[in-house]
Amino acid sequence: MTRVTLRVIGGLDLELSGRTTMVEFPDGAAVRDIPAALLALGIDCTSRKYLVALNGLGLNQHPQDQALKDGDALLAIPPLMGG
């Protein structure tokens, strides 16, 4: 199994909000597998309510077939905008 941390911050209305959780992926999982795993946790990556980053970059800024590895870090935050 590959273990990726998921941190949900910015006051999102999610059960996981404010926490850091470990998300397990099967060995060989890739970036493209992240949305489905997050959907199971209540985070819809396509929703206007969230923005998801992997290792500090937007999800779609990684090659989709890039293999996940232990220690990768997901961050779910509200959509950022200037005030």
Binding site: R7, A53, G56, L57, G58, M81
Partner: protein
Amino acid sequence: MEKDIKFQGGYTGKRLRINLSLREVSIEDVDPAEYYQYLGGRGMGALWYWREIGPQVKPLSAENKIGFFAGPMTGAPLISTTKFQCTTRGPESGQYLCSNSSGYFGPFMREAGFDAVILEGVSERWTALVIENQQVRFVDDDGWQGLKTGETRKRLLGTLPEGKRWATMVVGPAAENGVAFSSIMVDDGRAFGRGGAGAVLASKRIKALAVRGDQKLPVFDLEKCRAITKSAIEFLKVSRAKHRALGTAQFIEPVNALGAMPTRNFQTTWEEPEVAAGVIAQTMHDQYFTRNYACYRCSIACGQVTEVKEGQFAGAAARPEYESVGILGPSCGVYDMAAVIAANQACDELGMDTITGGNMVGLVMELFQRGLVTAADNEGLVVNFGDGKAMVEMLHFISERRGLGKLIGEGALGIIKERPLWEPYILHSRGLTFAAYDPRGFHGMGLSYATSIRGACHNVGGYTVYEELLSGKVDRFATEGKGAMVKSLQDVRAYIDSTGLCTVARGGFGLTNTPTSEVLLAVTGYNFAPRLVEIGERIINLERMILKREGVDRRQDTLPPRMREPVPNGPTAGRLISQEMLDAMLDDYYDLRGWDGHGLPKGETLKKFELEFTEA
């Protein structure tokens, strides 16, 4: 040809001009062809500035003027139609200043019958202007001097007839004392914060303005407006769900987590989450929130009214936004939300921009850290990073021009002129200090700050942060693609600032970089949508020609030295923006804008936007 257009709504077509020296009032007609080209708000302000404020005019001189401009949506029967613009030559940059505020003043100015109010000359006595429908009177009183903004507003309202609500603008002691970044407080919590517009008003001995009226703004299709409003409310319920709950401060935690939070005067970009937790939105909400505040006709109500009930800052109350929390918090090393609220309140009451006020305190803190100043330089007050109480006191010193505040109140450019060795510790572009996003964490923000029309500004310069995380083509550390990103964001922002709509709500109206929205058709009877981005680009080019006239070119599109230092720790450790990286982004940006290598619009670009009149 549509330049002969007569709009069927959205504009009063009238501008109020008040000559303060002669105490003469005149009402002018506005040529609808100008609205066709420049829309309203910021666009109309820029056109007026080009015509009436020449390059030799100094910001605090009698020759300077200050104008307040509404857009066609200001006060319209939709939602979030609260915004209006202030245009003047600002003391913080010494150049053209465009500033945007919410509140009730803009809509009520329209109910009084005016799309714009212009002030020129200098009043012989300290006065407040009261505008009721098309009548103007002066409330002279030397007792206005020295009053804080809340006291001023209360005293002014106490002199006014009861009945329908009044809207107000006031300045505080900071403006009276010539602080280069003093603000104009609008109603009871909004502001023209950046650039020093407060000092311009005070230089004219204007302490306050009040306005109300009973004219109904003409609207072309009220039923369509209602339908669009309904749809916008539904859209924003989802996309702005957290704005009501937590306000813009909800971004503190994510920006810190991404390693772009200015920390200890931008010496680094991140703090441990356990420490940063002291100033995140959830903390503000759980421990200090009392109620929401909504601007005129706003269904989002993102304003977070907070109050400190106990401790050394008991009694402090403010409505902290992301910027105020970021700069008065982490950038001053302060992780005590109560101190941030107290500092925000001090800025509001004294009438100072929270961003530059906080950045200046951060500068003082770093000067103490490095032993470049001592208590003896500051009337005994030591201001160290993390000391919230000293932070609040330093803000008072700046307003009163005491101790180090005497020089600090001059703003970045004034400080550098007097103390060039302090320049490495001042984070500014063209005189305006940085917003609460460190560009080493989002390189597009570096280009945004360097090219922002009014100096480093995350709004006017283009808010790239979201795009830099969403883009499928480039990431936040790339320099490629940022020229196009910043140009597009700036063009959109320029037209949004000309509509009168709050940017937080614009998604609900489909006002994007490819606008198809019918909202302006519903309000004015003319479908601006296909031309909105072109209008935004016209405004940017006109503003750039104004800046050219004031001596600005590529040499001033810069970032401060600290941006060329690597971030020492955290998620963006090692990141920097070298001059070569900035040059690459500038070259790309200028090329896309149709500007030459010096950052000046080419002849064919001016022709494209019908700005040949700026060539002389």
